[in-house]
């Protein structure tokens, strides 16, 4: 009986990675390895001003003194940082006027992924800033945004065009000394996005960036900075898919968000990097530092993430609730299959008065994977009347996978009210049979049940993203049965 169920689940969850293809775009590399010279070359290639080079070098020198962390609950193979290429740019890098000028290979890649970097998408109101191999290839809708004074460009461009803003905020939320990978990123970050929403402006469209790792042995070190000034609002989307690759690839991104008085930022991610094959070979290592500073009173940050990819995910989008009455929310779905490992969660740091935070985490584990939720709720001395509610649910498919929940509480103010609820459930064979009897295949049944289970989180995503996310869940859990 139990064996039968295992068999079904194994079949159902044995889906091959659908996006495993490789685009042949000529890439310009700098040699493998990391040294002060490499940092200088990166900076020079990007024509960076002196202060930026200084920023990088400081981080690099600090990184040299740091040790790769040894985290609990993740089995991380040793990474040879000298065997990584720290900079790769698509060779063809012309100034693009329209879609026609985008490399056809590149467009085919996006098409295969179902990423509509085309007129349709633009008409539907999404400005797309596509990052391929570390350098922005195309930025759209800039003019419309510019009319409102919104800045949405690559971080490299921002360094050239808006040095004062970048200088003021870059590294202000995640300093290079924060952790090993944050230091590494600060030293060698390649590109990423910069967003600035001026006072009182509601960004009229979702800002969207698609990241895609695409060259052999290229670690990706994106750097994203979002600043929302008083009374502004923006919804930002980040989506990732990567082609199948044999060697492990390192990804260490940093995202920094700053919200001023009454500003609100919604940051949504759908992450589907190559998770490795069924034996656990290959796959992306995803070590991301995402942090928001709710600086102004009544400001709000909402992180929503759907994590289905990567061999190893280590990621805790966090909120520092500094402004009084500021709000942090975290909605997460993490799906692991085969030998994937995910250790993800959030940190809610309550500093201001009457600050509130909400955590909704849904883990889905299949195969022999391990899925951990790790969350910290910290209420400092001055944070009068802080409130937190955490809901952490785990769904297990089969009995060879593991789900773990590690809630940490640090509360030093007795007016705080903190609640935590956790559940673990399994998809029962009687549920699957019930669906079968109504004419659904087992894989459709699992898809339906999983999508029902994560609904609360998916509902937080913008419409189009929600559809994409559901597709990803289907793909990562269902595969080629039937």
């Amino acid at each position: 009986m139990a064996e039968d169920q295992d068999k079904i689940l194994e079949e159902v969850t044995g889906g091959e990675y659908k996006y495993g293809f490789y685009t042949d775009i000529e890439t310009e590399f700098i040699p493998k390895g990391l040294s002060e010279d490499v940092v200088r070359i990166i900076s020079a290639k990007k024509n960076e001003p002196e202060w930026m080079l200084e920023f990088r070098l400081k981080a690099f020198r600090h990184w040299l003194k740091m040790k790769a962390p040894n985290w609990a609950h993740l089995n991380i193979p040793e990474i040879d940082f000298q065997d990584i290429i720290y900079y790769a740019a698509p060779k063809k890098k012309p100034e693009l006027e329209s879609m026609d000028e985008v490399d056809p290979e590149l467009r085919a890649t996006f098409d295969k992924l179902g990423i509509p970097l085309d007129e349709q998408k633009m008409l539907s109101g999404v400005a797309v800033d596509a990052v391929i191999d570390s350098v922005s290839v195309k930025t759209t809708f800039k003019e419309t945004l510019a009319e409102k004074g919104i800045i949405f460009c690559s971080i490299s461009e921002a360094i050239q065009e808006f040095p004062d803003l970048v200088k003021k905020y870059l590294g202000s939320v995640v300093p290079h000394g924060d952790n090993f990978f944050a230091a590494l990123n600060a030293a060698v970050f390649s590109d990423g996005s910069f967003v600035y929403i001026p006072k009182g402006v509601r960004c009229p469209m979702e800002l969207s960036t698609y990241f895609r790792i695409n060259a052999m042995n290229t670690g990706q070190f994106e750097r994203t900075l979002i600043v929302a000034d008083d009374d502004s609002y923006v919804s930002y989307l980040e989506g990732c898919t990567a082609p199948q690759r044999d060697e492990n690839q390192l990804h260490a991104a940093i995202v920094e968000i700053i919200t001023m008085e009454r500003a609100e930022v919604k940051y949504s991610t759908v992450q589907n990097w190559y998770p490795g094959d069924k034996e656990g070979k290959g796959g992306i290592y995803n070590f991301v530092t995402k942090r928001a500073l709710c600086k102004g009173d009544y400001s709000k940050v909402m992180w929503t993430q759907v994590e289905t990819g990567s061999a190893i995910t280590w990621k805790y989008p966090s909120c520092i609730l500094q402004g009084d009455h500021s709000i942090g929310e975290f909605y997460s779905v993490a799906v692991t299959n085969n030998y994937q490992q995910a250790d993800t969660g959030t940190k809610m740091i309550h500093l201001g008065k009457n600050t509130r935070s909400l955590i909704v985490s849904k883990g889905v584990s299949a195969g022999r994977s391990h899925n951990s939720y790790r969350g910290l709720v910290k209420v400092s001395k001055k944070a009068e009347n802080a409130r937190n509610f955490s809901q952490c649910d785990s769904l297990l498919l089969g009995d060879q996978c593991g789900a773990h929940t590690f809630p940490y509480l640090e509360i030093v103010n007795n007016t705080a009210k903190v609640e935590h609820e956790a559940t673990t459930s399994k998809i029962g064979e009687d549920q699957i049979f019930y669906c079968n009897q109504r004419g659904m295949s087992t894989e459709d049944a699992v898809g339906l049940i999983v999508n029902g289970y994560v609904k609360e989180v998916i509902n937080q995503l913008p419409m189009e993203f929600a559809v994409e996310a559901q597709k990803l869940l289907q793909i990562s859990l269902e595969g080629s049965v039937g």
Binding site: M1, Q437, R438, G439
Partner: protein
Amino acid sequence: MLVIKDLHAKIEDKEILRGINLEVKPGEVHAIMGPNGSGKSTLSSVLAGNEKFEVCEGSASFHGKDLLDLSPEDRAREGLFLSFQYPVEIPGVSMVNFMRTAVNEHRKYQEKDPFSASEFLKLMREKKKLVEIDSNLTNRSVNEGFSGGEKKKNEIFQMAMLEPKLAILDETDSGLDIDALRVVANGVNKLKSPENATILITHYQRLLDYIVPDYVHVLYKGRIVKSAGKELAHELEEKGYDWIKKEFED
């Protein structure tokens, strides 16, 4: 439409069905009665394709096809419907989503286009009326927190939506109040046609006052030990199963 020959099935080496023979023709209503644990639900599970049970002998054909060779979902798509004795709760999955997937999977099998959202909702409204099911129930997750009777009504609603050729109702009358029983029976009667058939598994004669069976069978220890017309149900109601058991043991 359904021909079962010498069907044996076991679970964990325990033989539960021990040679079932039954033929159901279009337009017929068969009632299966029998003491607790005699194998009635097992028979319906085996016909629906629940892999918990292993068929060790015998055959079952459905519209000329080898039923035992089909996956559970294909049996459903071929028009076999089981109203479960204990309907399963599926938290998080809305009835609307669930039913829409089910209906469209049936349509796909029949090589028809899937229903659009509005077509589907229209169908749902019609069928809801037919089986007099409370609107609220279809807005909730599948069976989650439904009362016993509500779950049974929901099974009949699903049957109405899927329009099966053969419906097996496993104790759908148990747990229904008198009004609900009438409603459910009416629903079943309205869905009856010369082309489709119904197997009613029940303990109570009362249901058979509403849905009049052509045949009544008694299942005992994994075999059909007696078959007769509707009068048999009255006899059982009066005398219980002892006389049949005795007859059988002799």
